[in-house]
Structures are given as structure tokens and as C-alpha cells.
Amino acid sequence: MARRSAVALLHEPSREPSRDEAEIPSAALRLAEALLFGAPAPLSAAALAARLPPGSDVEALMAELARFYAPRGIGLVRVAGAYAFRTAPDLAPALRGEAPEPRKLSRAALETLAIVAYHQPVTRAEIEEIRGVSTSKGSLDLLLETGWVRLRGRRRTPGRPVTYGTTPAFLDHFGLDAVADLPGLDELKGLGLIEGRLPAGFRVPQPSDDPALRADEDPLPEADDAGPA
């Protein structure tokens, strides 16, 4: 059945006999190889046997694979009674030093970030009003830590709350030229992200991250985070 696939293998299996003839792997061996490669965790002999053609000698296949891969950059190892491919241990120093996996933002943090982007300059109370829940200080702290959100200034209202805005790093990360390029209401609708009847007067603001302070913003004291004012 296996229809001839269009995937572009760099080198199609050559069907002519070659000096490697003796090495052409059996169907069971190829499948075992693919299963071990594709498994998210080491596979036990029983798990392998369940997916291989009936009557396959798992031990023999594993021994053959191990021998075949022995000189190579990846090898077959047996861990906790199961089999897995691993990079060869002697390559570890050359392989280490990978950057850690990027951390995904929580939904709360992502929503908070989106509000800061669209509604900046915005205070924490305003973010909470839009989200309808109190924003944990953690979300904002995390966003400050990402370097995508910054303290802009203080709103000239009682309590003088801090205003938040986005940074150039935010634009970089999300591939935006300017926050003004964030889609407006019509485009959000066009994308199918906002559907249904909206109340009259529902607006999506035209965002701006102009660093110049607004008329109702005061500058932050120079020393806001550098010791006593």
C-alpha cells in the first residue's frame, strides 16, 4: 500500500547492487530503527515486539543495530531495561552548551502583555479592569524580566500609579516594525479572532509606544530602582 511519497529524501535508496549489498537492512530492522528514533522514551523489548512484524527476534535486531551504530555519532544504549538511541558519550563536550529551551509565557502573562501592547501607557489598575481579574504582580514582574515591558512613568492621578509600555525588544521578538502595526479591530475580526455581535462603542485602541511621555504622565525618578529617592 505504502504510496510512493513525495518527501525529498536527499538520497533515494539505490536499488542497484553495491558493495554495501550485505548491509541492506531488513524491513524489521528498518522499522525497529524508526521506532527507536521516533519514541519519546526508551522502548522495552516488549514494546518493540508489539510493533514489529510477528516473530521478530528483538534481541537479535538490537544487537545488529548496536553493532551497526557502534562507530557512529549516535548509538544504541540500554537504559533501565529498555532501548534508546543516544548521542555517543565521547561527543558530549562538543554537544553541550546548547541554549536552554525558551520558556513559554502563561496565559495570564500573555494577556497582560497584549493589553500593555495595545493600551500603553497603561497602569496596573487599568490592566485589571480590562482583564476583569486582579493581575498578579507576578505576571508584570515576569514581563519586566522578559525585557518586553518597561516602566514608562507615573500617571498624574491620585496614587500616581506607574505606567507600563513595551520595549524595542518586544517588537523584535514578535517581528513587528512598530506597535502601530498590531492588527486593528477589523483585522482581528478578519482573522476570525473576534466574532459575534459586539456592543456599540467597542473599540480596539490604536497603540503607540512613543517614548515621549503623555501629558498625564510624569517621569519616573532617575533613581527609582537604584536606591533611595
Partner: protein
């Protein structure tokens, strides 16, 4: 999984007739219907007879109306345009007119049909490719092989501190989602802040010393009157509390005339 795409036709109850089946339900709009009709001519799309196609379309629409099927407006718009095209094709070409030549209209329609047909074919070719996650698999990505719980890929890669990830789609979806929720949220009124009589009494007892001379009540209340939204509750509760203190002989009150300011003096007690 819900069908993510809404079809814009609304005629689910098409009656099937053996000879001539009118069923708009399977079509995605008039262009799709035209393409299907064109395919029935069983010739290369580049050589279809547009006139025959127009007549088939109009007959189809006529039949649908006879059966009282509800047709989406764009089918009727297309029918009107095709009827106009038919008249242009049948009548001799006017010597010169502001409209484009009938041949150009035919060419444009044929090209649109060929283009849609080509995209259909391309989509089918894409669909048929060996696709990641369906036909070929990346390391660790074959489904149904997670036989050793607790030792999955997640357990082996430690999520450490590092850079943060997020896509513009995540961002837009998060924003749109909450604005949409917010737009439908019921109106709720914030509870009004009330300064209770108990709070007022405690504050006044703390402030008014036994030897204080006559002092305007508002002076004591000044810190509480700063917030305009609370002035009424502060005044009312303070008056109740100060009257109670006067009744207990803790303070003396003085007011020169109605609505004049009230002065307070602490009494030894």
C-alpha cells in the same frame, strides 16, 4: 474536532431529483459551482464553452428557485452577472462602449475558473505529500510509543531559566480573546466605600484629646475628606459618632445656627 470553517450556503434540505440534482449544499459559493459545471463538459478547462456554462448555471439557479431552495445572495449576484454576459455574447457587439469587450469578460471568467481549478489541484498535491507527524516523524514524535511513563522526553529535558518564547498569534489570540470576553461581561457596579459609624467613632476618640479647645469637626475629619467619593459617608458617620460621644459626656458640641459648622471640645472624663 469541530469543522473550523463555516460554509456560507444555507440549503441543507435540497431535494434530490434523479435527472437533475440541485444541491447547493456541497458547493462553496458560485465559483465552485461554476467550476463543477465546467468539469461536466469533460474538456480542458482552457477550452470550455462559456456560453454553455452560463446556460447550465442559469438553469441550475432556475431549478433551485423552482424548488424554493434558499440561495445565498452571491449565487444570485453571479446569476445576474452571467445573464448579462449571455446577452452580451448573443447580441452583436456595440460599435464602441464604455464596457469591456465581451471576449475580455469571457477570458476573465475562464481564467478565474482555471485558477481555482489549479489551486484545487495544488491543494490536493500538498495534502498528498508525506507530511510531518502523519507520514514522517521527527525524533521522539511517533505517536503512541510513550511506553515508559515518567521517563518521557519532558522528564529528560530540564526546563531551566532561559529566554522566553511567544508568537504573534499567541499574542493576538490572547488579546482578542479577553476583549471579546470583556465585551460580553455583565455590568457590575463596584460596591460603594462606606466609612462605618464604628470606624468614625474610633477615629474621633483617637483624635480628640480631653483638653482640646473648641475645634471645628471638619478639622479632625480633614484627612478623611480628601477623597471626594467618600465625603458624604465620612460626614454622616462622623456626625452620628460625635453625637453619641456627646450623649456619653465625652465631648461638648457647639453650633451657632443651623448648617453652620460644628465645633467640638473634649471633656475630661
Amino acid at each position: 474536532m469541530a469543522q473550523p470553517v463555516a460554509f456560507d450556503e444555507g440549503a441543507p434540505d435540497a431535494e434530490a431529483e434523479p435527472a437533475f440534482t440541485v444541491d447547493v449544499d456541497g458547493f462553496e459559493g458560485p465559483l465552485d459551482l461554476l467550476l463543477a459545471l465546467a468539469r461536466r463538459q469533460k474538456v480542458d478547462l482552457a477550452r470550455i464553452s462559456i456560453l454553455a456554462l452560463v446556460e447550465q448555471y442559469l438553469a441550475f439557479i432556475e431549478e433551485a428557485r423552482r424548488l424554493r431552495l434558499e440561495l445565498a445572495a452571491d449565487y444570485l449576484v453571479m446569476a445576474a452577472w452571467l445573464a448579462y454576459l449571455k446577452s452580451r455574447l448573443l447580441l452583436p457587439e456595440p460599435p464602441r462602449g464604455p464596457e469591456p469587450a465581451a471576449d475580455d469578460l469571457v477570458g476573465a471568467l475562464a481564467l478565474r475558473l482555471r485558477r481555482l481549478g489549479a489551486i484545487r489541484a495544488a491543494a490536493a498535491m500538498l495534502e498528498g505529500r508525506a507530511r510531518l507527524g502523519r507520514d514522517v516523524f521527527a525524533r521522539g514524535a511517533v505517536p503512541g510509543l510513550d511506553t515508559a511513563p515518567g521517563r518521557g522526553a519532558a522528564a529528560e529535558t530540564r526546563p531551566g531559566p532561559g529566554p522566553f518564547a511567544g508568537t504573534i498569534h499567541d499574542l493576538l489570540a490572547a488579546y482578542a480573546g479577553q476583549r471579546r470576553r470583556g465585551a460580553r461581561a455583565p455590568v457590575s457596579l463596584a460596591p460603594r466605600a462606606v466609612w462605618s459609624v464604628v470606624e468614625a467613632r474610633a477615629a474621633l476618640e483617637r483624635m480628640i484629646g480631653p483638653r482640646d479647645d473648641w475645634t471645628a469637626l471638619d478639622v479632625y475629619l480633614a484627612p478623611y475628606l480628601a477623597d471626594p467619593g467618600r465625603r458624604a459617608t465620612v460626614r454622616a458617620s462622623a456626625l452620628s459618632a460625635i453625637l453619641e460621644l456627646a450623649r456619653e459626656g465625652r465631648v461638648a458640641l457647639r453650633q451657632e445656627r443651623p448648617f453652620a459648622r460644628i465645633s467640638v471640645r473634649g471633656l475630661e472624663g
